[in-house]
Structures are given as structure tokens and as C-alpha cells.
């Protein structure tokens, strides 16, 4: 059974972001609170209007609530994993749809750069139960796992590193039009190909950018949205599917099965088709994830994502402009959160030089052991 529409028509009515980069004076709580204040100001609502709170990567929901002096009637805390961004939005939409809350703030604070997060080595917690059991072999880091997946994809389908470079170059071009992006100098295919390997076959420019920053979104119902400052951006569809079984190891199908499961349901829920989408926001922790997502979510045939991106479809002006902010690769690794904000800003028409014309329907998608996707619309149906 699938959901054909969400009760209450949940909508994003406020988005807030801090600058991204090196912000050593701020911890996760400060960054989250800063982003939340920006989001509230964007929405025209006040702290006292919130009755739902979901935090991610912020260490302690209780301390965060105490800091803000709020007593929500719906509270949840999610770990600081990128796959949680879509889950936070899904839970907020569910809270609105069921009436369990009327105004939900979802808040993310990440001080990974200043706290020297490396995503590899002794502190590596990536993977099922943490990565520790593989350290004796020198195996560590999500980058290594994605390098192995890409090498496998290459062996099966002939996908090349130069095709990954197209993704890095395209998103950097988009970032050059985004004043908030951390890396704004355009790069070429050669720059990518000549950059050092981290986990071969992945180069430096196949990796996202670890930074400090905060992101917050305010979600409410269509009814309540009428009182807000800006026109609402509707959550037309939000779906999740997982591949937790056997998830210690890289998946044989590049997470295709859960993505296909989502695709079967989400367009029905959103009452639109893939062809109607104006832009995509693709979780790009590493460039190969973009390829796996395009295949899994059905934008190109299986195994053909490499040549497909080379045709330029993801560029501004292309068929499906993607990660118009620069994404994790060039704006900042805000673990899916800032990509969702970019979707909202595009639909509002706030994106300046990087604005997609007539952006009315945008899909966010993530590929991982938990896959999530969201379709945003300028109209509720």
C-alpha cells in the first residue's frame, strides 16, 4: 500500500543557514541555534510557535531545548549521519500530517571541520556497528567503501573516472554562482584527473568538503503556512526504503532495490512524473553516489549513468540541473540538509545567478543503507 497524499499538506515555510567554512568559535549547539533563528526569521514565526523539534548531529536534544527555552510536544534526536536529513523531513511531515505537532523545527549543527572529523582511522564509526573490525586490514572510511563500489561499477559497465570528473566540474561550476559556497573557483576535467588519489580510484575532487555550519527548516501545514512571510514550498512526497540487511558490505546492486522501491511510490504520492521535474538535489558525499542515484531512481538505464552525465544533463540549462548550490562537493558537506534548503530556495526563485527557470518541482534523493527521497512543489498538488 502506498500513501497517495499527505494530510495537512506539509510545507517548508522557513529555511535558515549559517555561513559554511571554518567557524571555530561555534559548537554544534551554537550553529544549530544560529540556523534556527535564521529559519524562524525567514518564516515570520517565533520560537514560541514551535511545538515540534527534531535535532541531528547536535549532541543532546535536552541541552538544545534548554538553550532555546522551549517545551515542544514532539521531540526526536537523530544521529549525525547524512542519511538522517531525509528522515528528519519525513518525521516532521508525519508529525504535521497526523496533527502530533503544528510547527516543527528540524535543526542540524555540524562543527566537523573545527573538531577535525576525518571519517577514517581510529575514530571511524561508519558502517554497521562501526568500522573497527576491519581496521587490522587498514580498511576505514566511507570514501574507501565508495571507491570500491565505483571500481566494481567500472568493471561491470565500463564507467570511467573522467565521467566522475564531469560531476565534480559541473557542481563546481554551479558553486561559482553561489556566494555561500566554500569552493567557488571553476575546475576542469584535467584538474580533477590530475588531483591526488585519496582512496584510489577516487581523486580529491571526488570527495565532499568537511566544514562547520548549521541548517534549519521550519515545517507546518498548508493552513498554518498562510500566516507565514513567504509562500510555502510543499512536501508533495517523501519516502524511505532501506538495505540494512548485509549492510556491513558494499551492496551488489549499488542500493538500487531501495531506490526503485521509493520510485514506485513517490511519484504517486507527489502526483507528478519524473519528466515534470525541473531540478534534482542528489546526495553527493562522493561523486559515484550521484551515478548510483541516477540509475536507482530511474533517470537513466542501469549501467549507463557515466555516459549519461557526460551528455551534460546535470548542468544548469541541462535537462535535470542538479545540486545548483554546488552540493556537498563544492558548497559544503552539510549532509543533505543544505541540498533540501537549496530545493526550497530554487522553488521560491531566490537563487540569483544560479536560478533554474520556472522551478516548480524538485526531487531530493539519497543513496545509502537508508535511502530517502522528497519531492518539493510550488503547489500542494
Amino acid at each position: 500500500m502506498s500513501i497517495t497524499s499527505l494530510a495537512g499538506r506539509p510545507a517548508i515555510v522557513g529555511v535558515g543557514t549559517t555561513p559554511y567554512g571554518r567557524l571555530p568559535e561555534y559548537d554544534q549547539y551554537d550553529l544549530g541555534a544560529w540556523a534556527l533563528k535564521e529559519a524562524l526569521s525567514d518564516s515570520g514565526l517565533a520560537l514560541g510557535d514551535l511545538d515540534g523539534l527534531i535535532v541531528s548531529r547536535i549532541g543532546d536534544y535536552q541541552r538544545f531545548g534548554e538553550m532555546l527555552g522551549i517545551n515542544p510536544r514532539f521531540t526526536a534526536q537523530l544521529p549525525g549521519q547524512g542519511r538522517m536529513a531525509g528522515i528528519a523531513i519525513q518525521q516532521a511531515a508525519m508529525a504535521i500530517a497526523t496533527g502530533m505537532a503544528s510547527v516543527v523545527a528540524i535543526v542540524y549543527g555540524n562543527n566537523g571541520r573545527s573538531s577535525h572529523d576525518r571519517y577514517g582511522g581510529e575514530g571511524d564509526q561508519y558502517g554497521s556497528g562501526g568500522a573497527g573490525q576491519w581496521f587490522p586490514y587498514g580498511m576505514t572510511s566511507p570514501g574507501a567503501l565508495h571507491a570500491m563500489l565505483f571500481e566494481r561499477h567500472s568493471a561491470l559497465y565500463g564507467t570511467t573516472s573522467a565521467q566522475l570528473a564531469e560531476i565534480a566540474v559541473t557542481f563546481r561550476q554551479h558553486a561559482s554562482l553561489n556566494p555561500q559556497a566554500v569552493m567557488r573557483d571553476p575546475i576542469s576535467i584535467e584538474t580533477h584527473q590530475n588531483s591526488r588519489f585519496i582512496c584510489e580510484p577516487l581523486h580529491l575532487f571526488d570527495y565532499c568538503l568537511i566544514n562547520d555550519g548549521g541548517v534549519a527548516l521550519i515545517i507546518t501545514s498548508q493552513d498554518r503556512a498562510k500566516d507565514c512571510r513567504k509562500k510555502p514550498v510543499y512536501i508533495r512526497g517523501v519516502e524511505q526504503a532501506t538495505a540494512l540487511a548485509d549492510s556491513s558490505m558494499p551492496p551488489d546492486d549499488f542500493w538500487r532495490k531501495p531506490m526503485q522501491s521509493i520510485s514506485k511510490r513517490i511519484y504517486k504520492q507527489a502526483d507528478c512524473s519524473r519528466d515534470e521535474l525541473n531540478a534534482l538535489m542528489i546526495y553527493d558525499n562522493f561523486t559515484p553516489t550521484v551515478l548510483f542515484s541516477l540509475e536507482g531512481y530511474g533517470f537513466c538505464p542501469i549501467g549507463e549513468s557515466g555516459p549519461w552525465v557526460k551528455e551534460g544533463h546535470l548542468r544548469l540549462g541541462g535537462r535535470f540541473p542538479a545540486n545548483t548550490s554546488g552540493g556537498h562537493l563544492s558548497e559544503s558537506y552539510m549532509q543533505g540538509w543544505a541540498l533540501n534548503v537549496e530545493a526550497v530556495r530554487q522553488i521560491r526563485g531566490e537563487c540569483g545567478d544560479r536560478q533554474v527557470e520556472n522551478a516548480e518541482l524538485i526531487q531530493y534523493m539519497a543513496a545509502a543503507p537508508i535511502c530517502t527521497s522528497i519531492i518539493y512543489g510550488v503547489l500542494p498538488r
Binding site: F135, P136, Y137, G138, M148, F197, I198, C199, P201, P250
Partner: protein, 137 residues
Amino acid sequence: MIPSTGHAKPLPVIDRHNRTYWEGTREHELRLLACDDCNHIRYQTFSTCPHCGSDRRHWICASGNGTVWSWTRFHKTYFPGFATDMPYVVVVIELDEGPKLFANMVDMRVPPKIGTRVKAVFEAVTDDVTLVKFKPA
């Protein structure tokens, strides 16, 4: 996890779930858990069978035969103990019995071709710990 044994690389944490596995490698056996009820074979030392949910299980000795599923070569030094091995290769091996695992080839410098048939070998790194590695069959 930095040991005082002279082995500078990280060592496994041996616990009640995986003790039999690590006793096996010392005897040059690659042991896997098999479900008493559905025969599903797993590498992870879960108490419950991920295939049928049974908690009845026994250890089997795997053939040690498998196939290279993929590899990556580390150019970034995440572990000081691997500094002299840079760049080194980690492989994913798909065992003939079904489970996959991460490991090293005996020669860590050169990536093997995906699809290469391999055989397990056993490398004692401390008195307590013997690692499973692979070489072309």
C-alpha cells in the same frame, strides 16, 4: 588498540562473539557461522540468523576459496601503523560460501583484477592474532 607486541597496525577486539573465529585463524581455519535451521552462512558473528531469525547456530570451516569483488588503494594514511605500506590495497572478497569480507592480498601493493579467484592464507601478526589474507588461487 595500539598493542605493545611490536605489531604497529590495529588489532581486532576479540570478544565472546568472535573468539571462536580468532581461535580458528590461529589453527589456519576460516570459520563462519551456519544456521542450524536454514543453513544460511554468515561472516558476522550475530547471535541471530539474518535469514530466518533462528538463534541456533554452529561453526563451520570455510573452504578459503573466493573471488575478488572489488578493491581500493589507500593513498591517505589513516593509521600510523600502515605508514610504511603506503599506498596499500584493501580488497573485498566474496567467499564461495556466500559471505563477503574486507581483507588484504598477501601482496598489498598491487590491486588484483576484479573476478580473480583467490585462496585464503593465514598470517600470524601476534601470539594471539592471526589474520586471514588472500593470494591468487
